[in-house]
Protein backbone atom coordinates (compact mmCIF):
# COMPACT_ATOMS: atom_id res chain seq x y z
CA UNK A 1 0.00 0.00 0.00
CA UNK A 2 1.33 3.38 -0.90
CA UNK A 3 -0.88 5.49 1.33
CA UNK A 4 -0.14 5.93 5.03
CA UNK A 5 -1.13 2.94 7.12
CA UNK A 6 -3.09 3.47 10.27
CA UNK A 7 -1.60 2.07 13.39
CA UNK A 8 -3.25 2.77 16.73
CA UNK A 9 -5.10 5.68 15.19
CA UNK A 10 -1.84 7.34 14.18
CA UNK A 11 -0.29 7.71 10.81
CA UNK A 12 2.94 5.85 10.40
CA UNK A 13 5.41 7.53 8.16
CA UNK A 14 7.75 4.79 7.01
CA UNK A 15 11.20 6.31 6.84
CA UNK A 16 14.35 4.36 6.05
CA UNK A 17 16.34 2.89 8.94
CA UNK A 18 19.87 4.10 9.71
CA UNK A 19 21.62 1.19 7.99
CA UNK A 20 19.43 1.52 4.92
CA UNK A 21 20.24 5.21 4.93
CA UNK A 22 23.99 4.58 4.81
CA UNK A 23 23.60 2.00 2.08
CA UNK A 24 21.25 4.27 0.23
CA UNK A 25 23.85 7.03 0.47
CA UNK A 26 26.57 4.98 -1.20
CA UNK A 27 24.20 3.61 -3.81
CA UNK A 28 23.13 7.16 -4.60
CA UNK A 29 26.76 8.19 -5.09
CA UNK A 30 27.43 5.25 -7.37
CA UNK A 31 24.29 6.01 -9.37
CA UNK A 32 25.25 9.66 -9.64
CA UNK A 33 28.75 8.74 -10.76
CA UNK A 34 27.45 6.54 -13.58
CA UNK A 35 24.47 8.75 -14.31
CA UNK A 36 26.67 11.80 -14.87
CA UNK A 37 28.88 9.80 -17.22
CA UNK A 38 25.80 8.70 -19.13
CA UNK A 39 24.67 12.31 -19.39
CA UNK A 40 28.04 13.27 -20.89
CA UNK A 41 27.75 10.42 -23.36
CA UNK A 42 24.32 11.61 -24.47
CA UNK A 43 25.83 14.85 -25.79
CA UNK A 44 29.02 13.40 -27.26
CA UNK A 45 30.06 16.37 -29.38
CA UNK A 46 29.64 19.05 -26.71
CA UNK A 47 31.29 16.83 -24.11
CA UNK A 48 34.14 15.98 -26.45
CA UNK A 49 34.84 19.65 -27.12
CA UNK A 50 34.91 20.50 -23.43
CA UNK A 51 37.08 17.52 -22.63
CA UNK A 52 39.45 18.27 -25.53
CA UNK A 53 39.96 21.85 -24.35
CA UNK A 54 40.64 20.61 -20.83
CA UNK A 55 43.02 17.99 -22.21
CA UNK A 56 45.01 20.58 -24.14
CA UNK A 57 45.07 22.98 -21.21
CA UNK A 58 46.47 20.25 -19.00
CA UNK A 59 48.82 18.74 -21.58
CA UNK A 60 50.68 22.04 -22.06
CA UNK A 61 52.11 22.53 -18.56
CA UNK A 62 52.60 18.78 -18.18
CA UNK A 63 54.51 18.62 -21.45
CA UNK A 64 56.62 21.59 -20.50
CA UNK A 65 57.37 19.92 -17.19
CA UNK A 66 58.53 16.79 -19.02
CA UNK A 67 60.80 18.91 -21.19
CA UNK A 68 62.29 20.73 -18.19
CA UNK A 69 62.83 17.47 -16.33
CA UNK A 70 64.63 16.02 -19.33
CA UNK A 71 66.73 19.12 -19.85
CA UNK A 72 67.80 19.04 -16.21
CA UNK A 73 68.60 15.34 -16.41
CA UNK A 74 70.58 15.98 -19.55
CA UNK A 75 72.58 18.87 -18.10
CA UNK A 76 72.99 17.50 -14.58
CA UNK A 77 76.23 15.74 -15.49
CA UNK A 78 77.65 18.51 -17.63
CA UNK A 79 78.88 21.07 -15.17
CA UNK A 80 81.04 18.66 -13.21
CA UNK A 81 81.90 16.02 -15.77
CA UNK A 82 83.18 18.54 -18.26
CA UNK A 83 86.83 18.03 -18.99
CA UNK A 84 89.05 21.03 -19.20
CA UNK A 85 92.20 21.54 -21.24
CA UNK A 86 95.46 22.85 -19.77
CA UNK A 87 97.82 24.24 -22.43
CA UNK A 88 101.51 24.47 -21.61
CA UNK A 89 103.58 27.44 -22.71
CA UNK A 90 105.15 26.91 -26.14
CA UNK A 91 108.63 25.53 -25.76
CA UNK A 92 107.91 23.67 -22.53
CA UNK A 93 109.26 20.10 -22.86
CA UNK A 94 107.02 17.08 -22.85
CA UNK A 95 108.70 15.98 -19.59
CA UNK A 96 107.21 19.06 -17.85
CA UNK A 97 103.78 18.00 -19.09
CA UNK A 98 104.31 14.50 -17.70
CA UNK A 99 105.38 15.90 -14.32
CA UNK A 100 102.38 18.18 -14.10
CA UNK A 101 100.11 15.29 -15.08
CA UNK A 102 101.54 13.08 -12.36
CA UNK A 103 101.01 15.86 -9.77
CA UNK A 104 97.47 16.46 -10.98
CA UNK A 105 96.60 12.78 -10.75
CA UNK A 106 97.35 12.98 -7.03
CA UNK A 107 94.67 15.62 -6.54
CA UNK A 108 91.55 14.39 -4.81
CA UNK A 109 89.18 16.16 -7.21
CA UNK A 110 90.84 14.76 -10.33
CA UNK A 111 90.00 11.33 -11.65
CA UNK A 112 92.05 11.26 -14.83
CA UNK A 113 94.65 13.29 -16.68
CA UNK A 114 95.55 12.60 -20.26
CA UNK A 115 98.68 14.06 -21.82
CA UNK A 116 98.39 15.01 -25.47
CA UNK A 117 101.77 15.84 -26.90
CA UNK A 118 102.12 18.52 -29.53
CA UNK A 119 102.81 15.85 -32.15
CA UNK A 120 99.72 13.88 -31.25
CA UNK A 121 97.66 17.05 -31.33
CA UNK A 122 98.99 17.85 -34.77
CA UNK A 123 98.26 14.31 -35.97
CA UNK A 124 94.68 14.59 -34.65
CA UNK A 125 94.21 17.92 -36.27
CA UNK A 126 95.48 16.75 -39.63
CA UNK A 127 92.84 14.04 -39.70
CA UNK A 128 90.26 16.72 -40.35
CA UNK A 129 89.83 17.02 -44.09
CA UNK A 130 90.97 20.30 -45.47
CA UNK A 131 93.39 20.91 -42.61
CA UNK A 132 96.11 18.75 -44.05
CA UNK A 133 97.30 21.20 -46.69
CA UNK A 134 97.26 24.11 -44.28
CA UNK A 135 99.34 22.22 -41.70
CA UNK A 136 101.87 21.02 -44.23
CA UNK A 137 102.51 24.63 -45.14
CA UNK A 138 103.81 25.24 -41.60
CA UNK A 139 107.46 24.58 -40.97
CA UNK A 140 107.08 24.12 -37.19
CA UNK A 141 104.43 22.48 -35.08
CA UNK A 142 102.62 25.49 -33.57
CA UNK A 143 100.73 23.41 -31.04
CA UNK A 144 101.69 23.16 -27.34
CA UNK A 145 101.59 20.07 -25.19
CA UNK A 146 98.22 19.71 -23.53
CA UNK A 147 96.75 18.07 -20.42
CA UNK A 148 93.11 17.02 -20.52
CA UNK A 149 91.89 16.95 -16.92
CA UNK A 150 88.73 15.14 -15.90
CA UNK A 151 87.34 16.37 -12.57
CA UNK A 152 85.67 14.02 -10.10
CA UNK A 153 81.99 13.52 -11.09
CA UNK A 154 79.54 15.26 -8.78
CA UNK A 155 81.82 18.20 -8.24
CA UNK A 156 79.96 21.50 -8.21
CA UNK A 157 80.55 23.99 -10.99
CA UNK A 158 82.35 26.32 -8.55
CA UNK A 159 84.70 23.59 -7.37
CA UNK A 160 85.55 22.74 -10.96
CA UNK A 161 86.21 26.44 -11.55
CA UNK A 162 88.57 26.60 -8.54
CA UNK A 163 90.36 23.47 -9.70
CA UNK A 164 90.93 25.01 -13.14
CA UNK A 165 92.12 28.29 -11.59
CA UNK A 166 94.64 26.30 -9.56
CA UNK A 167 96.25 25.00 -12.74
CA UNK A 168 96.49 28.45 -14.24
CA UNK A 169 98.91 29.61 -11.51
CA UNK A 170 101.36 26.72 -12.03
CA UNK A 171 104.78 27.23 -13.60
CA UNK A 172 104.85 26.67 -17.36
CA UNK A 173 101.09 26.85 -17.95
CA UNK A 174 99.91 29.18 -20.64
CA UNK A 175 96.16 28.80 -20.59
CA UNK A 176 93.38 26.78 -18.96
CA UNK A 177 90.29 26.44 -21.04
CA UNK A 178 87.19 25.65 -19.01
CA UNK A 179 84.08 26.04 -21.08
CA UNK A 180 81.28 25.80 -18.51
CA UNK A 181 79.80 29.21 -19.11
CA UNK A 182 77.42 27.80 -21.71
CA UNK A 183 76.36 25.07 -19.28
CA UNK A 184 75.48 27.73 -16.76
CA UNK A 185 73.57 29.68 -19.36
CA UNK A 186 71.73 26.53 -20.35
CA UNK A 187 70.85 25.81 -16.71
CA UNK A 188 69.60 29.37 -16.29
CA UNK A 189 67.32 28.94 -19.29
CA UNK A 190 66.05 25.62 -17.94
CA UNK A 191 65.37 27.31 -14.62
CA UNK A 192 63.35 30.02 -16.34
CA UNK A 193 61.43 27.36 -18.24
CA UNK A 194 60.75 25.55 -14.97
CA UNK A 195 59.37 28.68 -13.35
CA UNK A 196 57.37 29.49 -16.46
CA UNK A 197 55.86 26.02 -16.40
CA UNK A 198 54.79 26.66 -12.81
CA UNK A 199 53.07 29.90 -13.81
CA UNK A 200 51.50 28.27 -16.86
CA UNK A 201 50.32 25.42 -14.65
CA UNK A 202 48.58 27.90 -12.35
CA UNK A 203 46.98 29.84 -15.20
CA UNK A 204 45.82 26.79 -17.13
CA UNK A 205 44.61 25.11 -13.94
CA UNK A 206 42.49 28.19 -13.38
CA UNK A 207 41.35 27.95 -17.00
CA UNK A 208 40.22 24.35 -16.47
CA UNK A 209 38.19 25.41 -13.43
CA UNK A 210 36.57 28.17 -15.50
CA UNK A 211 35.88 25.86 -18.45
CA UNK A 212 34.26 23.21 -16.29
CA UNK A 213 32.42 25.86 -14.28
CA UNK A 214 30.96 27.38 -17.41
CA UNK A 215 29.97 24.02 -18.85
CA UNK A 216 28.24 23.08 -15.62
CA UNK A 217 26.54 26.48 -15.51
CA UNK A 218 25.04 25.83 -18.95
CA UNK A 219 24.08 22.35 -17.82
CA UNK A 220 22.27 23.81 -14.82
CA UNK A 221 20.48 26.31 -17.06
CA UNK A 222 19.34 23.50 -19.38
CA UNK A 223 17.99 21.48 -16.50
CA UNK A 224 16.28 24.31 -14.71
CA UNK A 225 12.82 22.79 -14.69
CA UNK A 226 14.19 19.47 -13.52
CA UNK A 227 15.95 21.20 -10.65
CA UNK A 228 12.75 23.01 -9.72
CA UNK A 229 10.86 19.73 -9.60
CA UNK A 230 13.57 18.21 -7.43
CA UNK A 231 13.30 21.09 -5.02
CA UNK A 232 9.50 20.83 -4.97
CA UNK A 233 9.56 17.21 -3.90
CA UNK A 234 12.09 17.77 -1.15
CA UNK A 235 15.46 17.29 -2.85
CA UNK A 236 18.15 18.78 -0.63
CA UNK A 237 20.81 21.10 -2.04
CA UNK A 238 23.32 18.29 -1.69
CA UNK A 239 21.13 15.82 -3.54
CA UNK A 240 20.52 18.21 -6.41
CA UNK A 241 24.13 19.27 -6.52
CA UNK A 242 25.73 15.85 -6.55
CA UNK A 243 25.15 14.87 -10.20
CA UNK A 244 26.65 18.18 -11.29
CA UNK A 245 29.71 17.65 -9.10
CA UNK A 246 30.19 14.21 -10.57
CA UNK A 247 29.74 15.72 -14.02
CA UNK A 248 32.60 18.12 -13.29
CA UNK A 249 34.66 15.25 -11.94
CA UNK A 250 34.22 13.30 -15.17
CA UNK A 251 35.12 16.29 -17.33
CA UNK A 252 38.34 16.66 -15.34
CA UNK A 253 39.23 12.97 -15.28
CA UNK A 254 38.59 12.43 -18.98
CA UNK A 255 40.37 15.70 -19.79
CA UNK A 256 43.34 14.47 -17.73
CA UNK A 257 43.36 11.14 -19.55
CA UNK A 258 43.28 13.00 -22.84
CA UNK A 259 46.24 15.12 -21.69
CA UNK A 260 48.09 11.88 -20.97
CA UNK A 261 47.36 10.69 -24.50
CA UNK A 262 48.49 14.03 -25.98
CA UNK A 263 51.75 13.94 -24.04
CA UNK A 264 52.44 10.30 -24.79
CA UNK A 265 51.94 11.01 -28.50
CA UNK A 266 54.27 13.99 -28.37
CA UNK A 267 56.93 11.98 -26.52
CA UNK A 268 56.61 9.13 -28.98
CA UNK A 269 57.02 11.55 -31.88
CA UNK A 270 60.11 13.12 -30.29
CA UNK A 271 61.79 9.98 -29.01
CA UNK A 272 63.29 8.99 -32.38
CA UNK A 273 64.79 12.39 -33.30
CA UNK A 274 66.15 12.85 -29.76
CA UNK A 275 67.83 9.47 -29.87
CA UNK A 276 69.41 10.33 -33.20
CA UNK A 277 70.65 13.63 -31.81
CA UNK A 278 72.03 11.93 -28.72
CA UNK A 279 73.73 9.42 -30.99
CA UNK A 280 75.46 12.27 -32.82
CA UNK A 281 76.87 13.45 -29.51
CA UNK A 282 77.86 9.92 -28.62
CA UNK A 283 75.61 9.69 -25.54
CA UNK A 284 72.82 7.27 -24.87
CA UNK A 285 70.42 9.90 -23.57
CA UNK A 286 66.75 8.94 -24.01
CA UNK A 287 63.64 11.05 -23.34
CA UNK A 288 62.05 10.32 -19.99
CA UNK A 289 58.25 10.22 -19.83
CA UNK A 290 56.31 11.71 -16.93
CA UNK A 291 56.12 8.28 -15.35
CA UNK A 292 53.21 6.67 -13.54
CA UNK A 293 53.11 9.37 -10.87
CA UNK A 294 53.00 12.05 -13.57
CA UNK A 295 50.04 10.31 -15.19
CA UNK A 296 48.37 9.98 -11.81
CA UNK A 297 48.93 13.70 -11.20
CA UNK A 298 47.29 14.58 -14.52
CA UNK A 299 44.23 12.44 -13.92
CA UNK A 300 44.00 13.27 -10.23
CA UNK A 301 44.65 16.95 -10.87
CA UNK A 302 41.98 16.90 -13.58
CA UNK A 303 39.52 15.31 -11.18
CA UNK A 304 40.26 17.94 -8.55
CA UNK A 305 40.00 20.89 -10.93
CA UNK A 306 36.82 19.53 -12.53
CA UNK A 307 35.22 19.00 -9.15
CA UNK A 308 36.27 22.49 -8.10
CA UNK A 309 34.80 24.05 -11.25
CA UNK A 310 31.51 22.24 -10.73
CA UNK A 311 31.54 23.20 -7.06
CA UNK A 312 31.92 26.87 -7.88
CA UNK A 313 29.22 26.74 -10.58
CA UNK A 314 26.71 24.89 -8.39
CA UNK A 315 27.42 27.16 -5.41
CA UNK A 316 26.65 30.19 -7.52
CA UNK A 317 23.77 29.03 -9.66
CA UNK A 318 21.78 26.29 -7.93
CA UNK A 319 20.65 28.62 -5.18
CA UNK A 320 19.00 30.97 -7.65
CA UNK A 321 16.67 28.31 -8.94
CA UNK A 322 13.56 28.15 -6.79
CA UNK A 323 10.15 26.78 -7.70
CA UNK A 324 7.50 29.47 -8.14
Amino acid sequence: MAAPERRGGELRRGGPGPLARVRGYFRLHAQNLLGSLGRLARQPLASLLTVAVIGIAMALPAGLDVLVTNARALSAGWASAVDFSVYLEPGQPLARAETLAAEARGHADVVAVEVISADEALAQLSQFTGMQAALEALSDNPLPHTLVVRPRPGLSAEAVGRLADGFETLEGIDLVQLDTAWVERFLAIVDIARRASGIILLLLGFAVVVIVGNTIRLDIENRRSEIEVMKLIGGSDGFIRRPFLYGGLWYGVIGGLLAVVFNASALLALAGPVQRLAGLYGTDFALQGPGLSGLGMLVGGGALLGWLGAWVATSRHLRDIEPT
Partner: protein, 226 residues
Protein backbone atom coordinates in the same frame (compact mmCIF):
# COMPACT_ATOMS: atom_id res chain seq x y z
CA UNK B 1 -2.94 19.65 10.13
CA UNK B 2 -3.03 23.12 8.56
CA UNK B 3 -3.73 26.36 10.43
CA UNK B 4 -3.74 29.88 9.01
CA UNK B 5 -3.62 32.67 11.59
CA UNK B 6 -4.26 36.17 10.25
CA UNK B 7 -2.25 35.36 7.15
CA UNK B 8 -1.67 38.04 4.55
CA UNK B 9 0.41 37.79 1.39
CA UNK B 10 1.53 40.63 -0.79
CA UNK B 11 3.81 39.87 -3.73
CA UNK B 12 6.55 42.37 -4.33
CA UNK B 13 5.41 44.44 -7.27
CA UNK B 14 1.93 42.94 -7.06
CA UNK B 15 -1.24 43.60 -5.19
CA UNK B 16 -2.58 41.90 -2.09
CA UNK B 17 -2.94 38.21 -3.02
CA UNK B 18 -4.28 37.14 0.38
CA UNK B 19 -5.75 39.30 3.12
CA UNK B 20 -6.02 38.24 6.75
CA UNK B 21 -6.94 34.59 6.36
CA UNK B 22 -7.97 32.52 9.35
CA UNK B 23 -8.95 28.88 9.06
CA UNK B 24 -7.96 25.43 10.16
CA UNK B 25 -7.93 22.00 8.57
CA UNK B 26 -7.86 19.02 10.90
CA UNK B 27 -5.99 15.78 10.23
CA UNK B 28 -7.98 13.43 8.01
CA UNK B 29 -10.10 16.11 6.35
CA UNK B 30 -10.86 16.35 2.65
CA UNK B 31 -11.07 20.03 1.69
CA UNK B 32 -11.74 21.74 -1.62
CA UNK B 33 -10.34 25.22 -2.10
CA UNK B 34 -12.47 27.09 -4.64
CA UNK B 35 -12.80 30.55 -6.08
CA UNK B 36 -12.41 32.38 -9.37
CA UNK B 37 -9.12 32.71 -11.13
CA UNK B 38 -6.87 35.13 -9.30
CA UNK B 39 -8.63 34.54 -5.98
CA UNK B 40 -5.42 33.39 -4.31
CA UNK B 41 -5.84 29.61 -4.30
CA UNK B 42 -2.37 28.87 -5.66
CA UNK B 43 -0.86 31.44 -3.33
CA UNK B 44 -2.47 29.73 -0.35
CA UNK B 45 -1.09 26.34 -1.39
CA UNK B 46 2.35 27.86 -1.96
CA UNK B 47 2.33 29.15 1.60
CA UNK B 48 1.57 25.62 2.80
CA UNK B 49 4.43 24.17 0.73
CA UNK B 50 6.84 26.98 1.68
CA UNK B 51 7.23 27.98 -1.95
CA UNK B 52 6.22 31.41 -0.71
CA UNK B 53 6.32 32.87 2.77
CA UNK B 54 3.49 34.88 4.33
CA UNK B 55 3.83 38.66 4.55
CA UNK B 56 1.85 38.65 7.78
CA UNK B 57 0.55 36.08 10.20
CA UNK B 58 1.44 32.43 10.76
CA UNK B 59 1.02 29.30 8.73
CA UNK B 60 1.27 26.12 10.78
CA UNK B 61 1.62 22.86 8.84
CA UNK B 62 1.85 19.47 10.46
CA UNK B 63 2.60 21.13 13.80
CA UNK B 64 5.40 23.27 12.34
CA UNK B 65 5.22 27.03 12.08
CA UNK B 66 6.54 27.70 8.59
CA UNK B 67 8.13 30.93 9.79
CA UNK B 68 10.51 28.88 11.88
CA UNK B 69 11.60 26.63 9.02
CA UNK B 70 14.97 27.90 7.82
CA UNK B 71 15.74 27.83 4.11
CA UNK B 72 18.11 24.95 4.69
CA UNK B 73 15.33 22.89 6.31
CA UNK B 74 12.79 23.42 3.54
CA UNK B 75 13.61 20.16 1.67
CA UNK B 76 13.05 18.17 4.85
CA UNK B 77 9.82 20.09 5.44
CA UNK B 78 8.53 19.37 1.92
CA UNK B 79 9.15 15.66 2.30
CA UNK B 80 6.36 15.75 4.88
CA UNK B 81 3.75 16.60 2.27
CA UNK B 82 2.78 15.37 -1.16
CA UNK B 83 2.16 17.84 -3.98
CA UNK B 84 0.18 17.37 -7.17
CA UNK B 85 0.35 19.96 -9.95
CA UNK B 86 -1.88 20.81 -12.85
CA UNK B 87 1.01 20.27 -15.29
CA UNK B 88 2.21 17.11 -13.47
CA UNK B 89 5.84 18.32 -13.33
CA UNK B 90 7.23 14.93 -14.31
CA UNK B 91 10.82 14.52 -15.50
CA UNK B 92 10.52 13.79 -19.21
CA UNK B 93 13.80 11.89 -19.54
CA UNK B 94 13.02 9.37 -16.80
CA UNK B 95 10.70 6.41 -16.82
CA UNK B 96 7.41 6.40 -14.91
CA UNK B 97 9.07 4.14 -12.36
CA UNK B 98 12.03 6.50 -11.86
CA UNK B 99 9.73 9.50 -11.55
CA UNK B 100 7.72 7.86 -8.81
CA UNK B 101 10.89 6.59 -7.12
CA UNK B 102 12.44 10.06 -6.91
CA UNK B 103 11.02 11.10 -3.49
CA UNK B 104 12.23 7.80 -2.02
CA UNK B 105 15.66 8.23 -3.57
CA UNK B 106 15.82 11.71 -2.08
CA UNK B 107 14.84 10.37 1.34
CA UNK B 108 17.54 7.68 1.11
CA UNK B 109 15.43 4.53 1.01
CA UNK B 110 17.04 1.16 0.22
CA UNK B 111 16.59 -0.20 -3.27
CA UNK B 112 14.37 -3.09 -2.16
CA UNK B 113 12.01 -0.74 -0.33
CA UNK B 114 11.98 1.62 -3.29
CA UNK B 115 10.97 -1.18 -5.66
CA UNK B 116 8.22 -2.37 -3.37
CA UNK B 117 6.81 1.06 -2.63
CA UNK B 118 6.90 2.30 -6.21
CA UNK B 119 5.09 -0.86 -7.40
CA UNK B 120 2.48 -0.40 -4.70
CA UNK B 121 1.95 3.28 -5.56
CA UNK B 122 1.67 2.55 -9.30
CA UNK B 123 -0.77 -0.27 -8.48
CA UNK B 124 -2.89 2.11 -6.49
CA UNK B 125 -3.21 4.57 -9.39
CA UNK B 126 -3.74 1.72 -11.87
CA UNK B 127 -0.49 2.15 -13.79
CA UNK B 128 1.43 -0.95 -12.74
CA UNK B 129 1.98 -1.94 -16.37
CA UNK B 130 3.30 1.50 -17.38
CA UNK B 131 6.38 1.51 -15.12
CA UNK B 132 9.04 1.39 -17.86
CA UNK B 133 7.35 3.97 -20.11
CA UNK B 134 8.43 7.58 -20.51
CA UNK B 135 5.83 10.10 -19.22
CA UNK B 136 5.27 11.72 -22.61
CA UNK B 137 4.14 8.41 -24.09
CA UNK B 138 1.17 8.39 -21.67
CA UNK B 139 -2.15 10.21 -21.89
CA UNK B 140 -2.69 13.37 -19.82
CA UNK B 141 -4.88 11.51 -17.35
CA UNK B 142 -2.23 8.81 -16.95
CA UNK B 143 0.50 11.41 -16.52
CA UNK B 144 -1.53 13.02 -13.76
CA UNK B 145 -1.87 9.66 -12.03
CA UNK B 146 1.92 9.24 -12.23
CA UNK B 147 2.17 12.64 -10.53
CA UNK B 148 -0.21 11.44 -7.85
CA UNK B 149 1.72 8.20 -7.36
CA UNK B 150 4.87 10.28 -6.86
CA UNK B 151 3.08 12.48 -4.34
CA UNK B 152 1.92 9.57 -2.20
CA UNK B 153 4.81 7.12 -2.60
CA UNK B 154 6.56 8.29 0.55
CA UNK B 155 3.26 8.16 2.47
CA UNK B 156 2.97 11.80 3.51
CA UNK B 157 0.13 12.58 5.92
CA UNK B 158 -0.86 15.63 3.84
CA UNK B 159 -1.52 15.95 0.13
CA UNK B 160 -2.04 19.29 -1.59
CA UNK B 161 -3.10 19.63 -5.21
CA UNK B 162 -3.39 22.74 -7.39
CA UNK B 163 -6.03 22.28 -10.11
CA UNK B 164 -5.14 18.57 -10.50
CA UNK B 165 -8.01 18.06 -12.96
CA UNK B 166 -7.56 21.34 -14.82
CA UNK B 167 -6.54 19.61 -18.04
CA UNK B 168 -8.88 16.63 -17.80
CA UNK B 169 -12.36 15.90 -19.12
CA UNK B 170 -15.18 15.37 -16.56
CA UNK B 171 -14.96 11.59 -16.57
CA UNK B 172 -11.21 11.59 -15.96
CA UNK B 173 -11.58 14.35 -13.37
CA UNK B 174 -14.03 12.27 -11.41
CA UNK B 175 -11.68 9.30 -11.64
CA UNK B 176 -8.85 11.38 -10.17
CA UNK B 177 -11.08 12.72 -7.39
CA UNK B 178 -12.15 9.17 -6.51
CA UNK B 179 -8.48 8.31 -6.24
CA UNK B 180 -8.00 11.19 -3.80
CA UNK B 181 -11.00 9.93 -1.82
CA UNK B 182 -9.32 6.54 -1.46
CA UNK B 183 -6.25 8.20 0.02
CA UNK B 184 -8.51 10.15 2.34
CA UNK B 185 -10.05 6.88 3.50
CA UNK B 186 -6.54 5.71 4.32
CA UNK B 187 -6.07 8.73 6.59
CA UNK B 188 -4.40 11.27 4.31
CA UNK B 189 -5.44 14.91 4.75
CA UNK B 190 -6.26 16.52 1.40
CA UNK B 191 -6.40 20.14 0.30
CA UNK B 192 -7.35 20.48 -3.36
CA UNK B 193 -7.63 23.77 -5.23
CA UNK B 194 -10.09 23.60 -8.10
CA UNK B 195 -12.56 25.73 -10.00
CA UNK B 196 -14.62 22.74 -11.07
CA UNK B 197 -17.71 23.66 -9.01
CA UNK B 198 -19.86 20.86 -10.47
CA UNK B 199 -17.46 18.23 -9.25
CA UNK B 200 -17.07 19.89 -5.85
CA UNK B 201 -20.81 20.07 -5.38
CA UNK B 202 -21.24 16.48 -6.45
CA UNK B 203 -18.60 15.08 -4.11
CA UNK B 204 -19.83 17.11 -1.16
CA UNK B 205 -16.65 17.55 0.87
CA UNK B 206 -15.78 20.61 2.90
CA UNK B 207 -15.38 23.64 0.69
CA UNK B 208 -13.35 26.74 1.49
CA UNK B 209 -14.04 29.58 -0.93
CA UNK B 210 -11.78 32.52 -1.70
CA UNK B 211 -12.57 35.69 -3.57
CA UNK B 212 -9.91 38.32 -4.04
CA UNK B 213 -7.78 36.86 -1.31
CA UNK B 214 -10.59 36.75 1.28
CA UNK B 215 -12.41 33.82 2.77
CA UNK B 216 -16.00 34.18 1.63
CA UNK B 217 -17.34 30.77 2.46
CA UNK B 218 -16.52 27.64 4.44
CA UNK B 219 -18.93 24.75 4.61
CA UNK B 220 -17.09 23.44 7.66
CA UNK B 221 -15.94 19.99 8.50
CA UNK B 222 -17.96 17.15 7.04
CA UNK B 223 -17.94 14.32 9.51
CA UNK B 224 -18.46 11.71 6.89
CA UNK B 225 -15.33 12.64 5.01
CA UNK B 226 -12.52 11.52 7.23
Amino acid sequence: MIRFEAVGKRYSGGGEALATLDFEIAAGEFVFLTGPSGAGKSTLLKLVALIERPSRGQVVVNGQNTRKVARRRIPQFRRGLGMVFQDHKLLADRSVFDNVALPLLIAGFAERDINRRVRAALDLVGLADKAPRLPLTLSTGEQQRVGIARAVVSKPPLLIADEPTGNLDPALSLEIMRLFERFNELGVTLLIATHDIDLVTRLGHRRVELVEGRLVGDTGRRHGSA
